[in-house]
């Protein structure tokens, strides 16, 4: 059983590599894999997000002169969609996800873009800076999980920092120079997605089967839902969070 499973993994890896160009350009699902799509909504009006006073760093306040910055704990779209919710499969035991995009966490206008960066364990990501002021990038995981905190300076023109995390964890990230800069590395196992500004998401590359999908939001908490994915089909899962 186990052997056959491994063989299947190896075979599909071979197929994947062989057809990589085709798959990437046409977005075809390999091996009849399905996906999970849906929308995350916020119940009721979005909580008011405080404006950020960046006056301690003139570079930052200038960057937001015409577009004042706000905290991003809740980012809700016009239709009540909730952004920055990470969706993943609880207790995933399949293979690691082959990353098809370079994950980038950008320091831009003294904010983090994206505010939440989801990734698989072991998947590498890049931290870069687009700013002409110095930052330091300082993730603060719990070392007991196996994820070790580090702290690197990011003066203007810094080369990107390339890293990965060992264990699943929602890791807060901050800049000590600009204490309003708060973001997250959401480290999960297996396929994942992050909801966009309309609350929409699609978890790709999910083999047929029964799953529990977890939706995590940094302030509103977590919810789970059972879904069944059929070969080559899209299962749906919708979530509604209450602001806390």
């Amino acid at each position: 059983m186990r052997n056959r499973h491994n063989l299947a993994v190896v075979l599909s890896a071979v197929v994947l590599v062989g057809c990589a160009a085709l798959i990437l350009s046409q977005g075809v699902n390999a091996a009849g894999e399905g996906k999970i799509t849906g929308t995350v909504k916020l119940d009721g009006p979005a909580p008011h997000m405080k404006g950020i006073d960046m006056s301690k760093d003139p570079y930052c306040s200038k960057a937001h002169a015409s577009d004042p910055a706000h905290y991003e704990t809740y980012v809700a779209g016009a239709n009540g969609g909730l952004a920055n919710v990470v969706l993943y499969i609880d207790g995933w035991t399949g293979a690691a996800q082959a990353s098809n995009a370079v994950l980038v966490f950008d320091q831009r206008n003294c904010m983090y873009t994206p505010h939440v960066l989801a990734m698989d364990t072991g998947e590498s990501f890049k931290v870069q800076t687009s700013d002409q002021t110095a930052h330091n990038i300082h993730p603060n995981p719990n070392p007991m999980t196996g994820n070790i905190p580090w702290n690197q300076s990011q003066p203007p023109g810094s080369p990107p920092v390339e890293k990965s995390w060992k264990a699943t964890e929602f890791i807060p990230v901050k800049c000590n120079i600009h204490p309003w800069m708060n973001g997250w590395f959401a480290v999960v196992k297996g396929p994942y997605a992050t909801s966009d500004e309309n609350g929409n998401f699609t978890i790709n590359n999910v083999p047929p089967g029964n799953y529990t999908v977890t939706a995590w939001h940094e302030a509103a908490g977590t919810q789970t839902q059972k879904v069944t994915v059929a070969a080559g089909a899209a299962a749906s899962a919708n979530f509604t969070f209450k602001a806390k």
Binding site: N136, M144, S153, P156
Partner: protein, 292 residues
């Protein structure tokens, strides 16, 4: 340098003023920790054994670092941030004074040096009165609290090239590095720990922490030779806002920066004399990059 007695009386006077709850991060039980009693350390040609340090730890360290090594000793509540940091939580395996890159374990020698040296601006005493063997045993004991040493190796020490001759040119170049790296955001343009971000700094456990004031006559916690200062900003002090600059400062520039930092310090130095003759002005944080 402050004597031990002075440090203890500081501690006691702090105790009289405020009492704040300690942040507790104790997660491991004695039985878990005891599985690592066989931990060793290697310092020079001395091998330290954790189990031989049990008595010394009880006698000298437990009051601050606590029986579980989590930093919750009975005296911990009297150490008040931002000036006085809480005793280190050894279970986390996160250390300030390393020769190794940020995010990696320190070497046994790093821990040995920290224990020997003690920390200025801190309640951590120096332990150079203990024998080398006792200190090596204590290093092994400190390590045995954290499961990290079971699966992880210390990082590779960052290389420190030979120190060049101090020149006026190098001091000026060091001032440019200080401006470009924006050390002043935390440390202030004159190294007085009063930069625009200084007042909001917190350590990894969310406690307030002060940046190092270069001018108040105290010494860096991780040593005060030129090599130590080079190492400090290249590795960073893990667990604090002080980041690593290893990816941003080239070795030659790093020496220039060491020389410039010396000009802030109250201790007499060649660098301080030269800076006076050069009539060096502090960097101007409002000037455009490159013209500070």
């Amino acid at each position: 340098m402050r004597t031990r007695l002075e440090k203890w009386s500081l501690l006691l006077s702090a105790a009289a003023v405020f009492v704040l709850p300690t942040v507790s991060s104790a997660q491991l039980s004695t039985s878990d920790i005891d599985t690592r009693l066989g931990t060793e350390s290697h310092v020079g040609n001395i091998t330290g054994h954790a189990k031989d340090a049990k008595g010394d730890y009880r006698r000298y360290c437990v009051g601050c670092h606590g029986p579980l090594g989590d930093g919750n000793g009975e005296n911990a509540p009297y150490m008040q941030p931002p000036m006085y940091q809480q005793p280190r939580d050894f279970q986390l395996g996160i250390f300030k004074c390393r020769s190794t890159p940020t995010g990696t374990l320190p070497t046994d020698q790093d821990l040995y040096d920290a224990i020997t040296r003690g920390f200025d601006r801190s309640n951590m005493p120096q332990w150079n009165t203990l024998s080398k063997q006792q200190r090596a045993d204590l290093v092994a004991w400190v390590k045995h609290f954290s499961p990290r040493w079971v699966g992880e190796k210390p990082g590779t020490p960052i290389p420190i090239p030979p120190e060049p001759e101090v020149t006026a040119e190098r001091i000026k170049a060091g001032r440019d590095v200080f401006a470009r790296m924006q050390c002043w955001k935390c440390h202030g343009v004159q190294g007085m720990a009063n930069g625009p971000s200084a007042s909001t700094l917190q350590d990894d456990l969310g406690r307030p922490i002060a940046a190092f004031n270069f001018t108040d006559g105290t010494r860096p916690k991780c040593g005060d030779t030129d090599q130590d200062i080079y190492r400090i900003f290249m590795t960073g002090l893990d667990g604090t806002p002080m980041p690593s600059f290893a990816d941003n400062i080239k070795p030659d520039e790093a020496w220039d920066l060491v020389f410039y930092l010396r000009t802030f310090m109250s201790q007499k130095s060649k660098e301080k004399e030269m800076a006076k003759q050069l009539a060096l002005k502090p960097v101007d944080p409002n000037a455009p990059a490159g013209q500070q």
